[in-house]
Symmetry: C2
């Protein structure tokens, strides 16, 4: 039967099982869904039909109760789901609860508590340094190799894949402009990132150690941190990005549990500087993830950023974010920062790909420095799975609409 019979090699086979929130065709009801191939399993209905003790966690309109349930529940539920979609005796019960992906509406899968964005790719940071501070002795700021630089973003404008992005307006001022100008951004960019979703909260005053990462973080998703470079350049000294980023951040509709990515775990790049004990992961389990990202504009692939090259791991970011005693809440989201590999075709932003607009990309739709209205950007990714399989991450798609 087709829903169970996911084609060999499908990156959304039963080895993956990412979570989202969907409405069935013709309904506005929101339900937790689990993706299987080109179908979505109504997880709450399946839990009820099969007598799962986790029905109260799964029969909900958002992933937050699942996120809050903690690691033991996450493992139990994943084990149960795997059985539901693979054991033949469940097929008659489960098959009617599978909805074709093409027929459902996908929603932002969880309520975002705090949103933090990092800056953890050395290639990205060096490219940005060379572009904006060409005369500096070092393209990295002095703190870069000692701590994962991050800042808070706007959680209220995190949107699900497929949501249109209105071109933001704002102030900009080139060094040659006598006064600031106001208008639609003319340097609208993407940032290809990976977002990490916190499940288990922590208490104020209690830092989360490197080794507790997997007790607190439920899973990950692709994330596009849309950036208006002209607005950002004028506003960001001295307190950091604000309106250049806060208009929209897109995440995939599917949250991939860390448990699906066991085979993708790898050591991060060799550390070039000694780290303070709370960040020193030399004796820890591998903290990196081998995720192969693709960036496409209007269907044309422009870059393939390798997440394996990130200098700072998600576990280090979590340890840093809480070392001052800041607490975590269920639904906290943090972005890795733009993922850029060492070569030109591996850069995760147009800023880098076009070297600040000086080297336009020649795309089928025409030359591009930054995004034009109606451009559609799609991020996709996969990771190595068990037995040579691929684990697909949910795509992040967004189309630019004209300034309002």
């Amino acid at each position: 039967m087709p829903p169970f019979d996911v084609p060999e090699g499908d990156p959304f086979g039963p080895h993956n099982l990412p979570y989202g929130v969907f409405s069935p065709a013709g309904s506005t009801d929101r339900r937790v869904g689990v993706r299987l191939g080109d179908h979505v399993l109504d997880a709450g209905a399946a839990a009820a039909a099969l007598g799962s003790p986790y029905v109260s966690v799964l029969a909900r309109p958002t992933l937050n109760p699942l996120l809050a349930a903690g690691r033991t529940a996450w493992s139990d539920i994943r084990r149960a789901l795997t059985a539901w979609v693979t054991v033949p005796s469940h097929q008659d019960t489960v098959a009617p609860l599978l909805h074709p992906l093409s027929a459902v509406t996908l929603h932002l899968p969880f309520e975002v508590a705090d949103y933090v964005d990092f800056y953890a790719s050395e290639n990205h940071a060096r490219n940005v340094g060379q572009i904006f501070r060409p005369d500096a002795a070092d393209s990295l700021t002095p703190n870069w190799k000692h701590l994962p630089i991050g800042y808070h973003g706007r959680s209220g404008t995190v949107v699900v894949s497929g949501t249109d992005v209105v071109r933001p307006s704002g102030q900009r001022k080139a060094p040659t402009d006598p006064v600031p100008l106001f208008g639609p951004s003319v340097r609208l960019d993407i940032e290809a990132e990976v977002g990490f979703v916190v499940g288990t909260p922590s208490s104020m005053g209690s830092p989360v150690t490197l080794s507790a990462f997997r007790d607190h973080v439920f899973g990950l998703c692709l994330l596009n941190d849309w950036s208006a470079r002209d607005i950002q350049a004028w506003e960001y000294v001295p307190l950091g990005p604000f309106l250049g980023k806060s208009f929209a951040t897109s995440v995939s509709a599917w949250i991939t549990p860390l448990d699906a990515l066991e085979d993708a775990r790898i050591a991060p790049p060799a550390r070039t500087h000694p780290l303070l004990p709370y960040l020193d992961d030399a004796e820890e389990e591998p903290g990196g993830y081998d995720l192969r990202i693709s960036v496409a504009v209007n269907g044309h692939t422009i870059s393939e950023p390798p997440f394996s090259t990130m200098y700072w791991t998600a576990a280090q970011q979590l340890a840093h974010m809480t070392v001052n005693g800041a607490s975590l809440r269920t639904g906290d989201l943090y972005g890795s920062g733009t993922v850029s590999g060492p070569t030109e075709r591996e850069r995760g932003s147009l800023l880098e790909l076009t070297w600040n607009g000086t080297a336009p990309l020649d795309l089928p739709a025409g030359k591009r420095t930054f995004l034009e209205d109606d451009d559609e950007v799609t991020l996709t990714a996969w990771a190595p799975g068990p037995n040579g399989t691929r684990v697909g991450l949910g795509e992040v798609r967004g189309r630019i609409t004209p300034a309002s």
Copy 2:
């Protein structure tokens, strides 16, 4: 009868009526309360007893439903509350619903959505510029007079007045240190601010104009944006403050509705630079508020920052924050930035008051550059009210406990 008979001149008389959330003595139940003198009125119970149509908004464990109800409801409810606590015929009904303030527990009054902090005092910005960039031609950055600089903070660590603040640990590196050090902050500071609370949300892509300020903002409170200057100094280039601020932000337990502050509205300082149309308030109603703040350490007043000197108004901050299309949510909180007046005794941070630790304050408890463990900081404020009265803002109190 005492509860109704608030003493003449009490800054929490019936002309004020700020909102909070309390638990009665011996209960963990949370209820919306309205402060009257030294008592708290159980607003939901009063609404029920007096047949108010707003019982569903007031008989709740948080202010969020009231915040979301919108300006017309805010005015109606305030009018009703005023009658309940002043019309003699209501006294028998209302008196039993008044709890002595000393007997109740006060809670964080609303669920904070996004938290943004601004940098809107010219005196503060110039002091900081002179301290950190003594050789710069202008103590203000080039953008300062063109836009209200702001950044996002951590909403999950906003705490109510009275909550202890654990001294944060983190990385610091003085220019003379060969490598960063880790340990408890040795430059723990305060920032005396005013926080604005958003009630009515807005849609993505739809900026909120200057004149719509009072349709969206419900009220204000005092806010202490605790800051670890040593952590901040090492981390903040290039993406702004992060761990130097994210460990705690304290707000008062009482939210003063804007409707209680009509007599405190004043014009902001004269603008020295032309403003872009979306920020130009020359033809708008007065956007400033005459709030007289006091900062005390261990009961000793060290400063009296005047909010009337703020260059950027809360209406301008709201217009700026949304001009790129960023949406507002009920419960969004934004801080004014440190309030500093032109004279030494009007500075809102120890950084300024001690000129970065070079001029210690001589307090009864001993000399202070930055905060020591067990120091308790209290912010209080009042504003001119009708007929020569004073409108009190709820205090913000916090004691420093040793690093964990």
